[in-house]
């Protein structure tokens, strides 16, 4: 056990996996000698060389399509998008091919492709470099969608992602990737579809996604001083989504808030709320609330940028409002 960053954790797994399995290779912009804009492949080019770490031109549709083909024909490609927003140029390959190949081949063709990229608002990266978009991927059948919130989970989930024969979207929030945490030295894998109760509580359940987990935990700690007991659930993966843990929590507390940086309409919170009303109706003591980032393109101006994401004050206010219901 030692303290390393979220990104270092994923890199450890990547290096070990590439060492053990020659069919794994990484494709993306600046992931070769440069080691990745976000240090995703730092140090790996020296170990594995240009065959295994392939810098590409700026043509996502092209190299994503190529990696789809590579995955179909027996290799295990990792596509490193740098900013996940760039995946949007490859949506046709992603949705029409990658997500459907296993179905269309009746399972004869596997699609062991790992699509990773940095998401999220908070670095004045503005409209084209701040997206998360995971509700869209969650909506499409055929994907695994992973949103780790801390270094321990990042390493464990990356281990599962790299072994998966399904297309996995591994989404790393820019505000989290250089956060440190206690991470075991050896191998371990966290299965998909297993949420973590990050904090136990009795008055209400807050499901927090990705970058919101730390903020919600912060607020929960503050509110505890006022005698408010908040249970915080981190789903870790939104596809598959661990509803059993969320339902058990709502059964205990009776009140639910979902906090998510991504847009509210048709979002993960809407899905969770619908499932809780469906399967846990008689446990609800109050309407379900959602706190989301504003439904707007991300502003560049830093004060505007901070205004559009849930912050400690708005999270605390939402929890208080929920308890007053």
């Amino acid at each position: 056990m030692r303290e390393i960053t979220f990104m270092e954790g994923t890199r450890e797994v990547l290096a070990a996996a590439m060492e053990a399995d020659p069919t794994i290779f990484v494709v993306g912009e600046g992931i070769g000698a440069r080691g990745g804009n976000f240090a995703t492949t730092l140090g790996l080019y020296e170990r594995f060389g240009p065959e295994r770490l392939r810098d590409t031109p700026i043509s996502e549709r092209g190299f994503v399509g190529m990696c789809c083909g590579a995955a179909m024909t027996g290799t295990r490609p990792i596509v490193d998008f740098m900013f996940l927003d760039f995946i949007l140029d490859a949506m046709g390959e992603l949705i029409n091919q990658i997500s459907k190949i296993q179905y269309m081949s009746s399972g004869r063709l596997k699609m062991p492709i790992l699509l990773r990229g940095c998401i999220g608002i908070g670095h004045a990266a503005a409209t084209h470099h701040s997206g998360s978009y995971y509700p869209i991927f969650t909506h499409i059948p055929g994907f695994r969608v992973v949103v780790p919130s801390n270094a321990y989970d990042a390493k464990g989930l990356f281990a599962t992602a790299i072994r998966s024969d399904d297309p996995v979207l591994f989404l790393e929030h820019k505000s989290l990737i250089f956060n440190k945490g206690q991470v075991p030295d050896g191998d371990y894998a966290i299965p998909f579809g297993q949420a973590r109760v990050a904090r136990e509580g009795t008055d209400c359940t807050v499901v927090a996604i990705g970058s919101m987990v730390d903020k919600v935990l912060n607020v929960a700690g503050e509110l505890a001083a006022d005698g408010v007991s908040v249970e915080v659930v981190d789903p870790r993966t939104v596809a598959p989504l661990d509803m059993d843990t969320i339902l058990a929590s709502v059964h205990k507390t009776g009140r639910l808030l979902v906090v998510d940086e991504t847009f509210q309409p048709c979002g993960i919170g809407a899905e969770i709320a619908a499932q809780v009303v469906d399967r846990g109706f008689d446990d609800l003591d109050a309407p379900i609330r959602r706190l989301n980032g504003a439904h707007a393109p991300t502003p560049y101006s830093p004060p505007l940028e901070s205004a559009i994401v849930p912050n400690l004050q708005t999270i605390a206010q939402s929890i208080r409002d929920l308890l007053a219901e």
């Binding site: 509210q264 309407p287 439904h295």
Partner: protein, 463 residues
């Protein structure tokens, strides 16, 4: 989407003005260029024209003539035909841009207020109210919209229940609307006998009306002489309680319907007494509940009934229903009258479980919390008058059952054993059975089986 009408900045340094008047009435159809209202500034009074078309909706709480208004203050809206104006009253300052999103932001979504005067309740609170047997319709809700929430139900449950008023039935509070209660009272129908429309729902007016239609109401004493004519001087007039009238109805029904015959026999009680003493000696010092004579009788009757199913039956005109299960009612005298709580599945339970059940039922009766479920469904009844020094008697069958066992006192008596007269203990057993369902001989064989079980407990104790 409604277009906001705001106080315009009519000069470079203008920060406020004095509102004059609206030039068009509420609801008027406004075209681009129409003059809408007047504003007075330092310079002059100006007429302000509309830059959009729409229906004029003046904001409630907006300025009157002579009010000072800030630049940007909301005055009203122009809506499309059929569109409602935004509900909010005019705030001090309007937003600087209109929302054109497809979705409304709901950081703190407002749920609608109470509809009419009906109380609202959260699903969780409704479930908890069912579990704790609380009538939530009378509660005040502490939820934001006046909604009844879990904490309100739990608070109500934590309060002590009121004692029943003299003359009221002692059955556990039946959940019913006030209208239903009144209707049932007037019609003389016992609320406990009515099933609500859905399990767990309150009994409503419709349920009572249906019961009235299906039921024969309790007889009104119209044929009888007025009580004053019957009364001798200084006699006491006791109004009949609902439970008294119910007992009267049921007893009369039984007497007038069944072909009741009572058989009696005397059993040697010494083995039963010895068994009870042994149980006392074993469980008493261990502070465990000691099964009573009634508990033992319930069990032995249940075993006997399994071998004599025609005594565990119901007459149904075209068929006799032989019940698969044995639920035994035990007649209990209470201050309010006779109650017969039922021990369910006596054929499956051991004596200790039966003892626990009867104990629990006794406690509920004591606390006036016994419910209709616990008083219904029996397939056989035992009535024990031994504590009143009664021997044989003629109990009345508890319809829709077809037999009832009356138990007398355990009395010391001389008995014949091996042709010698010795002291012994006997108990009178009386079986009233319905001759429509079963004849004398099978009934007698059943009573004999009971006697045998009383005399040789090993036959039924060991299973």
């Amino acid at each position: 989407m409604a277009v906001e009408i705001v106080v315009p900045r009519l000069g470079w340094t203008m920060e406020e003005g004095i509102f004059g008047e609206w030039l068009k009435p509420e609801g008027a159809s406004i075209a681009v260029g129409d003059l809408l209202f007047t504003i007075e500034t330092d310079k002059a009074t100006q007429e302000v024209e509309s830059l959009e078309a729409g229906i004029l909706r003046i904001a409630p709480g907006g300025p009157k003539a002579g009010d000072v208004v800030l630049v940007g203050a909301l005055l009203g809206y122009l809506t499309a035909v059929g569109e409602a104006a935004p509900l909010a009253t005019a705030p001090a300052r309007s937003s600087t841009f209109s929302e054109k999103s497809n979705f409304s932001e709901s950081v703190s979504a407002a749920t609608p207020a109470i509809r009419g005067n009906e109380p609202t309740i959260s699903p969780r609170a409704r479930r908890v109210a069912g579990e704790l047997d609380i009538d939530w319709s009378a509660l005040n809700g502490s939820g934001r919209t006046g909604r009844i929430v879990e904490r309100d139900v739990r608070a109500a449950a934590a309060q002590p229940r009121p004692e029943p008023v003299e003359g009221q039935p002692v059955l556990a509070e039946v959940r019913a609307t006030p209208v239903a209660r009144r209707l049932a009272e007037d019609a003389g129908i016992d609320l406990a006998a009515i099933s609500p429309a859905r399990p767990g729902a309150r009994i409503g007016r419709e349920d009572v009306e249906a019961a009235i239609a299906a039921h024969t109401p309790l007889p009104a004493p119209t044929q009888l002489p007025a009580p004053s004519q019957l009364a001798t001087p200084n006699s006491q007039l006791i109004p009949t309680s609902r439970i008294r009238r119910l007992i009267a109805q049921r007893m009369a029904d039984s007497a007038h319907t069944t072909a009741a015959v009572t058989l009696t026999t005397e059993a040697d009680a010494s083995a039963l007494v010895a068994l009870r003493q042994q149980l006392k000696a074993t469980f008493g010092p261990r502070n465990l509940p000691v099964p009573s004579y009634n508990d033992l009788l319930i069990k032995l009757s249940a075993v006997a009934l399994q071998a004599h199913p025609h005594l565990n039956a119901t007459w149904n005109e075209t068929e006799i229903v032989l019940h698969e299960v044995v639920h035994i009612g035990l007649a209990v005298d209470t201050a309010e009258g006779l109650l017969v709580p039922v021990v369910r599945d006596a054929h499956l339970k051991g004596v200790r479980q039966i003892a626990a059940d009867t104990q629990a039922l006794a406690e509920k009766i004591e606390a006036h919390r016994v419910g209709p479920d616990e008083l219904q469904g029996g397939t056989f009844t035992i009535t024990n008058l031994g504590m009143y020094n009664i021997d044989a008697f003629t109990p009345i069958i508890n319809l829709p059952q077809c037999a009832i066992l009356g138990v007398g006192r355990i009395v010391a008596k001389p008995v014949i054993v091996n042709d010698a007269v010795v002291p012994g203990k006997t108990v009178a057993l009386s079986l009233t059975f319905d001759h429509r369902v079963v004849d004398g001989a099978p009934a007698a064989r059943f009573l004999n089986a009971i006697r045998e079980f009383v005399e040789e407990p090993a036959l039924w104790l060991v299973g």
